[in-house]
Amino acid sequence: MVKVFSDKEFGKLIQRTLLAGVSLSLFFFFLGFVFRFSGFQSAGAAFRAGVLALALTPVARVAMLVYGYWRTKEYRFALASFTVLALLLISVLL
């Protein structure tokens, strides 16, 4: 039997994706400050990793929307999300 993907599960998936991205970027930012105040050279790399994790969070969220709407068979929203994902990728490449 095919397991139903409910709105609640979908909401949780998006929530976890966003929280994971935000937490990861916060982790790198705090690491950057620890490195900076301890005089380590890698502070800049940690800050840049934090910014990258932050910028990629909405991208990951849109990718999860494509997956979620595909699972719930709401294909027009899956297509809209996919279009947004493509536009985000274009902005990365520009």
């Binding site: 709105d7 979908f10 909401g11 949780k12 998006i14 929530q15 966003l18 929280l19 991205g21 935000v22 970027s25 916060l26 930012f29 705090f30 950057g32 400050f33 900076r36 502070a43 800049g44 800050f47 840049r48 934090g50 910014v51 932050l54 910028a55 969070t57 909405p58 991208v59 969220r61 849109v62 929307l65 709407y69 709401e74 929203f77 809209a80 999300s81 279009t83 947004v84 536009l87 985000l88 274009i90 902005s91 990365v92 520009l94």
Partner: protein, 281 residues
């Protein structure tokens, strides 16, 4: 280059905290305050300030949306539909940045904001007089639309359902809201929230939550372009983002507890302040 001492960093975290609270409650990214603060008070070049502002908007949007989506306050279907034109607009805006006169853009933007502010104020005042904010109930005249939704409003302890209308003009306006993101480093919430509330009939809390959901994407689209151009100062962004994230989570509590009419009145005041500020430039 601005020196990030411990004192400066602490002050910027506090500033970011207030921007985060504002973003959570009103559905705006706070770029309208971040950019002038960084440029005028700290002497940071405008393009670097815009890049930091975009990073702060992405942070605020992601943090607030993570809660609002799970609780059903953010209307994901509406957000996704508007994201398409918003993202297109933000890419166009970021590419045009520097080629268009930002003074003219800000003047036109300010002139649009005055009637928006008045409309929000009148709607909020009417709602205060009559007890609570009204919106078109879902499925009032037959088949429910795909964007219709409902949420539990903790301030009145009941569910609020609503019907979403005028999606075609809303998508068109979203394109310009996205364009502002790329051009001026704004999230575009200052346009998205009143548009959803006044044009689409979305209750203010759901409009703010949905705006928060979608402005992260438009800001990210512009942020990638600014990152590639090398405008972002990661340390500065980190300090502001930490404050914004703390403020965003604190602001969610206010959003759930505050009455819609009061948020609406506060938002109309915010729009008015922004319009005056832009006109004075």
């Amino acid at each position: 280059m601005f020196d990030l001492t411990f004192l400066n960093s602490s002050l910027l975290v506090i500033f970011g905290f207030f921007i985060g609270v504002l973003g959570s409650v009103m559905g705006v990214g706070g770029g309208i305050f971040i950019v002038p603060m960084l440029v005028l008070a700290l002497g940071i070049p405008i393009h670097q300030a815009v890049a930091v502002s975009l990073a702060a908007i992405v942070a605020s949007s992601s943090a607030v949306a993570s809660v609002n989506v799970e609780r059903g306050l953010a209307n994901m279907r509406l957000g996704v539909a508007l994201e398409v034109t918003t993202a297109l607009g933000s890419i166009a805006g970021a590419l045009l940045a520097g080629r268009l006169s930002s003074n003219i853009i800000q003047l036109l933007f300010a002139l649009v904001l005055f009637p928006v502010s008045a409309g929000m104020f009148m709607k909020g005042r009417r709602a205060l007089k009559h007890g609570r904010a009204r919106s078109a109930p879902a499925a009032a005249d037959g088949i429910p639309g795909v964007f219709d939704s409902e949420f539990f409003d903790h301030s009145i302890d009941s569910r609020t359902s609503y019907r979403v209308k005028n999606m075609a003009p809303a998508s068109f306006i979203s394109f310009f809201a996205g364009g502002l993101s790329g051009l001026l480093g704004l999230g575009g919430g200052i346009i998205q929230v009143p548009m959803m509330n006044l044009l689409c009939g979305v209750p203010i809390k759901a409009a703010a939550a949905t705006s928060n959901f979608l402005i992260g994407v438009s800001a990210a689209a512009s942020l990638f372009i600014y990152l590639k151009k090398g405008y972002l100062v990661p340390e500065l962004a980190a300090v502001i983002v930490i404050g914004v994230l703390l403020g965003s989570f604190a602001g969610i509590y206010i959003l759930y507890k505050a009455r819609s009419e009061k948020i609406q009145m506060a938002f109309s005041a915010l729009v008015f302040i922004v319009a005056v500020k832009m006109l004075m430039k």
